[in-house]
């Protein structure tokens, strides 16, 4: 490939991503007025966080002053991204193939389909950013979680957030590849992956509480290191005894390397799935979801 061709491909991918993000935003938000959309975006995640609050209030000695509470709350707030990014990217395949019937047109247009799908996920990521921010504000402003602005490690927070979101986006692309070959299993696959990450990544309880085999699985997941880095950036402590010995640089390095590996694997799998779907005539499949 010549330099000129490579540049054209990058430009095409960038254009596809940008247009898909705009389209995704319209699909996500234009079903109602902005006020109702804002309420919708906030109520769901805040309710999810409040379930944990009341579980604590009922049981934990010291209630919300229990030292475990900030750990749980921050993990849960950032977990909002997991469902949004994973499903945002992979659900676009079902949405475009079966609901709008436009996937086949993407393949006859000068569009980079992986970039397009990542763009569709970007819109959901935007909504998730709003929800996560408001959930954290509720935690700090109403529930008294101590995240002093001066004590936040900004660079670590930004670095971990970007790497984590990339890792989730590529995981979404991997699921998108599987969705190209399957009928109506996307919802279940996405939920299963998101549910497994919720359980195994120490989102709402320290990894140390899990039985050893599940702990080992948790340590193999990028999301575990993502949340560990985010908690270190915001709370000063990751809260997991099993990861406590790792220096922050190592946590970021593991996160970076696993994201790179995931990116490579997901693009490869997506291209393979795309080829198979093309040959089997699945690109305009209708399964009446």
């Amino acid at each position: 490939m010549t330099w000129k061709e490579a540049r054209a491909r990058v430009e095409e991918a960038g254009r596809s991503l940008w247009v898909a993000a705009w389209l995704g935003w319209q699909i996500e938000s234009n079903w109602t007025d902005p006020f109702l959309f804002a309420v919708y975006s906030v109520v769901k995640p805040v309710a999810g966080a409040l379930i944990l609050v009341f579980m604590y209030v009922v049981v934990a000695r010291g209630g919300l002053a229990n030292p475990l509470f900030p750990y749980v709350f921050v993990g849960n707030a950032f977990y909002i991204y997991v469902g949004a990014v994973l499903m945002g990217v992979s659900w676009a395949v079902i949405d475009d193939r079966e609901h709008y019937g436009t996937l086949k047109y993407l393949y006859v247009a000068p569009v980079s389909v992986p970039a397009y799908l990542l763009g569709r996920g970007a819109a959901q990521t935007g909504v998730a950013t709003l929800s996560t921010g408001i959930t954290l504000l509720v935690g700090v402003g109403i529930l008294g979680i101590e995240i002093p602005p001066g004590g936040v490690h900004g660079a670590l927070l930004a670095g971990a957030l970007v790497l984590g979101l990339l890792s989730l986006a590529f995981l979404g692309l991997l699921l998108g590849g599987a969705t190209l070959l399957t009928a109506r299993h996307n919802y279940f696959l996405g939920q299963a992956v998101a549910g497994a990450l919720y359980l195994l990544s120490g989102v709402v309880f320290p990894l140390d509480v899990l039985p050893p085999p599940l702990q080992a699985l948790g340590k193999a997941l990028p999301t575990t290191y993502w949340l560990e880095a985010l908690r270190r950036a915001l709370l000063g402590d990751g809260g997991n005894a099993t990861l406590g010995a790792l220096p922050t640089g190592t946590v970021l390095l593991i996160l970076g390397l696993s994201t790179a590996g995931l990116a490579f694997a997901s693009v490869l799998v997506f291209r393979l799935a795309e080829g198979l779907a093309h040959r089997r005539g699945l690109l305009d499949m209708q399964t009446m979801h």
Binding site: W31, T32, Y40, V43, K44, P45, A47, G48, L50, I51, L52, F54, M55, Y56, V57, V58, V59, A60, R61, N66, L68, V72, H99, Y100, R184, H185, F188, Q191, A192, G195, A196, Y198, L199, V203, V204, F205, P206, V209, L210, M288
Partner: protein, 275 residues
């Protein structure tokens, strides 16, 4: 039409609409696996939270029971409330409307089929959760427990039939509204903790969703000592309220279906797709 023929048509319609849901259970077996495993992942996470904060073992039972009941609420949202929206999208709604039968029979069939399919999932979650986490179970009265459960289902699916009528008007909003009614209802109905923790008046408001009262009553019957200071209302009152809600929702569903069908017909929304 003579009454006998009318009743026959009603029953055949209900069975006809329930049939694909019952048969559908065995058509795609991987769905059963996912339907049991997905709630179990969430239940496991909440069990580990309670373990991390040193909660008594009964709280594991609260979570497993709540996790099993989530299957019914999800079924109400996605396969009752939103069902007429899906039917509109797939072109079946107009066939329902021109069929010489009662719309209530169609809704009843949806509910009965939904109950059958969902019970399989709920039992799976309950059994696996109980075995995995060694949940203590010592019901004080099995008939009362079964009675509470059945009344909860009647009231809940009555609500589902009412929501199906309301959702008839909507396009994409239906999908988003169903999505919105998940976590907030899990919170307000006390799926994972005793609803009394929210305060009496919030719990009273949340009792419009029958699972709130049903869960509280079932927890009282399963864990009387633990629920002593955490119960919302006495079991007898909750049973009465569930029976009242069941009747009210069924009557309202019947009226709402007529009203919203007429409104949707006038506004030309019955055949509007891809919104």
């Amino acid at each position: 039409m003579p009454l006998r023929a009318e009743v026959g048509t009603f029953l055949r319609t209900a069975w006809g609409r329930a049939y694909p849901r019952v048969i559908g259970m065995s058509r795609e077996k991987s769905w059963i696996l996912f339907d049991v495993l997905l709630p179990l992942l969430q239940v496991s996470a909440y069990v580990f939270i309670y373990r991390a904060i040193g909660a008594p073992r009964e709280f594991t039972g609260f979570v497993v029971l709540g996790g099993a009941m989530t299957a019914y609420w999800m079924n109400i949202l996605w396969s009752m409330a939103s069902q007429l929206y899906w039917e509109k999208e797939t072109g079946n709604l107009e066939l329902y409307l021109i069929a010489p039968t009662s719309r209530m029979a169609i809704l009843l069939g949806m509910a009965l089929g939904g109950i059958a399919a969902t019970t399989l999932r709920a039992v799976g979650v309950l059994l696996l959760g109980t075995l995995l986490f060694r949940v203590p179970l010592a019901p004080t009265s099995v008939p009362a427990l079964v009675g509470v459960f059945l009344l909860t289902l009647i009231a809940l699916y009555g609500l589902g039939m009412l929501l199906a009528s309301l959702f008839l008007l909507w396009g994409r909003e239906a999908w988003h509204l169903a999505n919105l009614l998940q976590e907030p209802v899990f919170l307000l109905s006390g799926f994972y903790f005793p609803v009394r923790a929210l305060g009496f008046f919030v719990a009273l408001g949340a009792s419009l969703v029958p699972i709130t009262l049903g869960l509280d009553a079932m927890r009282q019957l399963l864990y009387p000592r633990m629920m002593e200071g955490l119960k919302f209302l006495p079991v007898g009152v909750e049973l009465g309220a569930l029976a009242g809600l069941g009747v009210a929702f069924l009557v309202l569903a019947h009226r709402a279906l007529r009203f919203f069908e007429d409104l949707a017909r006038r506004e030309g929304r019955l055949t509007l797709r891809g919104q």
